[in-house]
């Protein structure tokens, strides 16, 4: 009842959905259901709330001081509809942050972004690799933000008094990658900074960029950034190819 495509070999060269076969001209039942399953996983990743309890437990072993912060986006729907609200802290959170204001080399922010599971799955492993490499630096309490956007890291970094801020954030889920984490690094974080002042490491997940590699790359970028006193488009990334790329 279905026609297989007699060119299966092509599938070796790409993860794209090729050589799917067909029922008439349409998707076969198994391919249709595979697509719908993957979309269901991606949708649930977007809508899921960050499990703070679980995340704190996982981070517990690392012996970090943790601050929990909220943005002005109250619900997932509001967060998705109004990106501007995810870039501003609630007043209470601003007050909390001020209590820890000081002079730090590095601030670390974890935000759910568009995939809370990306943070739950990848952030603890990443920090386990990354933090031991930062022993020379004075690090601010780690902030965990619910319903946060990338630009929020500027406000947090400025309030804490950090020379540099990094934000680990859940990326917009792809159909085949619902749990991909990105890291944004900004030198001299100030409210109102724009995106060209940041460097980004993307696609950190099982099956994507390994946390160990992302950690090494970030250390390289941080050192370069401190040396040149800038970040963003003018900080060229010469760290080298990602593993597995041809």
């Amino acid at each position: 009842m279905t026609d297989k495509d007699p060119w299966k070999d092509l599938g070796r060269y790409t993860d794209a959905r090729i050589v799917l076969g067909r029922a008439g001209g349409s998707l076969t039942t198994s391919e249709l259901l595979r697509f719908r399953r993957d979309h269901a996983l991606a949708r649930d990743a977007v809508l899921a709330d960050l499990n703070l309890f679980d995340l704190e437990n996982k981070l517990g072993d690392l012996g970090l001081a943790i601050l929990k912060l909220k943005t002005r986006a109250e619900t997932r729907e509001e967060y998705i509809r109004r990106p501007d609200l995810g870039r501003v802290l609630q007043e209470e959170s601003t007050e909390d942050l001020k209590k820890y204001s000081g002079s730090y080399d590095l601030g670390v922010v974890l935000a759910d972004g568009l995939s809370a599971i990306a943070i739950e799955r990848n952030a603890p492993g990443f920090l386990k690799s990354f933090l031991p490499e930062t022993s020379e630096m004075k690090i601010a309490p780690v902030c965990i933000v619910r319903h946060g956007r990338v630009a929020l890291s500027d406000e947090i970094g400025e309030l804490l008094g950090c020379r540099m801020i990094i934000m680990l954030i859940g990326e917009r889920p792809g159909l085949s990658s619902p749990d991909s984490m990105g890291i944004y690094m900004t030198y001299n974080p100030l409210k109102g900074n724009t995106d060209e002042m940041r460097n980004c490491i993307s696609n950190i997940r099982t099956g994507g960029l390994p946390v160990e590699f992302a950690s090494e790359k970030l250390i390289y970028l941080i050192n370069e950034s401190f040396r040149k006193k800038l970040s963003g488009v003018n900080l060229k990334d010469n760290f080298g190819q990602n593993p597995g790329l041809t």
Binding site: L10, T14, V46, S176, L245
Partner: protein, 460 residues
């Protein structure tokens, strides 16, 4: 000049034309976030009632962004043809809708006055039109464009083959192209969005595409969708560039945020024309647009996202493009919240583009944080197929693994051809038959001859 209308017991006043247009717009999350949308349905319908009485002449006399301040306004005004406008010059927006729908107003009649229609007129009339109105009027308008084949003929429907790869791996891209050709895709263009903007990478993709096209004499065109300045540099260095791609918007400030000016587009258009690579015609520009880009760039001048989008078509029209593609759901739910808003926007964009004489296609798409799913895309595909859309995207399995969004697939184009009897560009259709991939009735062939098909044996 202020506009007044009432709905029920409420009366509303709209201080100027841009406010009236924004309030008359169908609900869009982007206009709401920008604070310019109608506050409720009463205000929206009052705005529509008032808008229906606005003379078309107002859009010529009162530019939404002043002539002195904005290069897109200047282009629209300078291209405006008063003589062509004459036939509709006494119309209100409401009259214009009635006229477009009347039996006597054929596609030829509309084509005859196109140069007297401005983007703002199309946006205005679309706001008082239902979805079926948009489909009906669009279906009257055929816009034909040519480079190596003939696109946009009545009863025909084309696809851009879009086999992107997250690391621009050449073998990965080629695997997607071969699979797509076996499914009969790629007559609009074989077009790659590169992950990298390095000229060296772009050059190697362009060379690979050109060698494939020449090897099999494929009657289509190829494109790597990189910034126009990069394409210009590549042309000067001898890369095989068929089409010049660029994303554009409806205000000068939007285009500045894309790093584009009118002068730069003209320079690239000139450079690509001089290559004389076209065979059936010389439409060489490929533009992409999408509602919300001006909002996102803080460059909307208080104008609603759909009117900004129509203004981008005014810019596109100036260059007689081969392809204009509204990438309707890519921008995300903060601008088009759900399937309903995406579908409406897709119909509006196609309508406005066609009315202005553009070869409109649509990337029928959504991201995973939008309240939409593949059924919404099926709906929009069916509606746009009925409306006479020129082309859609053909993405492997509808899942773009580089751009991380969902569009339409190789299988989707087979579906719409089957239910609506739509054929590919004639040159491409003949080629597929010669290649023994397509039967005379336009259906894909199956069988043992495919196992050793020469496309599969192609080794770069």
């Amino acid at each position: 000049m202020a506009f007044k209308a009432s709905a029920g017991t409420h009366s509303f006043t709209f201080p100027d034309l841009r406010t009236l247009l924004a309030c008359a717009s169908p609900e869009k999350s982007g206009d709401q976030m920008a604070g310019i949308a109608a506050k409720n349905e009463k205000e929206r319908i009052a705005a529509r009632i008032a808008l229906a009485d606005v003379p078309l002449r107002s859009f010529v006399d009162e530019p939404l962004v002043p002539y002195e301040e904005d290069a897109v306004t200047r282009l629209i005004m300078d291209d405006f043809d008063e003589t062509a406008f004459k036939l509709i010059s006494s119309f209100t927006v409401g009259d214009f809708r009635n006229w477009l729908l009347s039996y006597e107003t054929t596609g030829e009649v509309i084509a005859g006055i196109r140069s007297g229609i401005t983007p703002e007129m199309t946006a205005a009339v679309s706001k008082i039109m239902s979805n079926q109105d948009l489909i009906l009027v669009s279906s009257k308008c055929r816009v034909i464009s040519k480079f190596r084949n003939t696109l946009g003929l009545s009863g025909h429907f084309s696809t851009r083959l879009q086999p992107n790869h997250p690391t621009d791996d050449l073998k990965g891209i080629m695997a997607g192209i071969i699979d797509g050709l076996m499914y009969g895709c790629g007559d609009a263009v074989i077009g790659i969005n590169p992950a990298s903007d390095r000229p060296k990478t772009i050059h190697s993709i362009l060379v690979m595409l050109d060698e494939l096209r020449q090897k099999f004499s494929i009657p289509s065109q190829t494109c790597v969708l990189t910034h126009v300045s990069t394409t210009l540099e590549l042309i000067r260095n001898g890369s095989p560039v068929d089409l010049v791609f660029q994303s554009i918007g409806g205000t000068e400030a939007t285009n500045r945020s894309f790093g584009v000016s009118l002068e730069l587009l003209e320079e690239a258009h000139q450079a690509a024309s001089e290559l004389s690579r076209g065979e059936t015609g010389n439409n060489i520009m490929y533009f992409e647009t999408g509602q919300g880009s001006s909002h996102s760039a803080n460059a909307n001048h208080g104008i609603d996202q759909q009117t900004c989008e129509a203004r981008a078509y005014g810019l596109a029209r100036h260059f007689r493009p081969l392809l204009v593609n509204t990438v309707v759901g890519f921008i995300g739910p903060e601008y088009l919240f759900d399937g309903r808003q995406i579908i409406r926007a897709g119909l509006e964009d196609h309508f406005c583009g066609k009315l202005l004489g553009l070869p409109m296609g649509c990337d029928i798409c959504y991201t995973n944080h939008a309240m939409a799913d593949q059924d919404d895309m099926d709906n929009l595909l069916t509606l746009l197929g009925t409306a006479g859309c020129n082309f859609i995207m053909a993405v492997p399995g509808a899942d773009d693994i580089m751009l991380n969004y969902q569009s339409t697939s190789f299988h989707d184009q087979l579906y719409i051809r089957q239910v609506l009897g739509l054929k590919r560009a004639p040159e491409f259709d003949s080629w597929l038959q010669q290649m023994e991939l397509l039967s005379g009735d336009g259906l894909l062939r199956a069988g043992n001859h495919l196992t050793h098909h020469k496309l599969l044996a192609y080794d770069r």
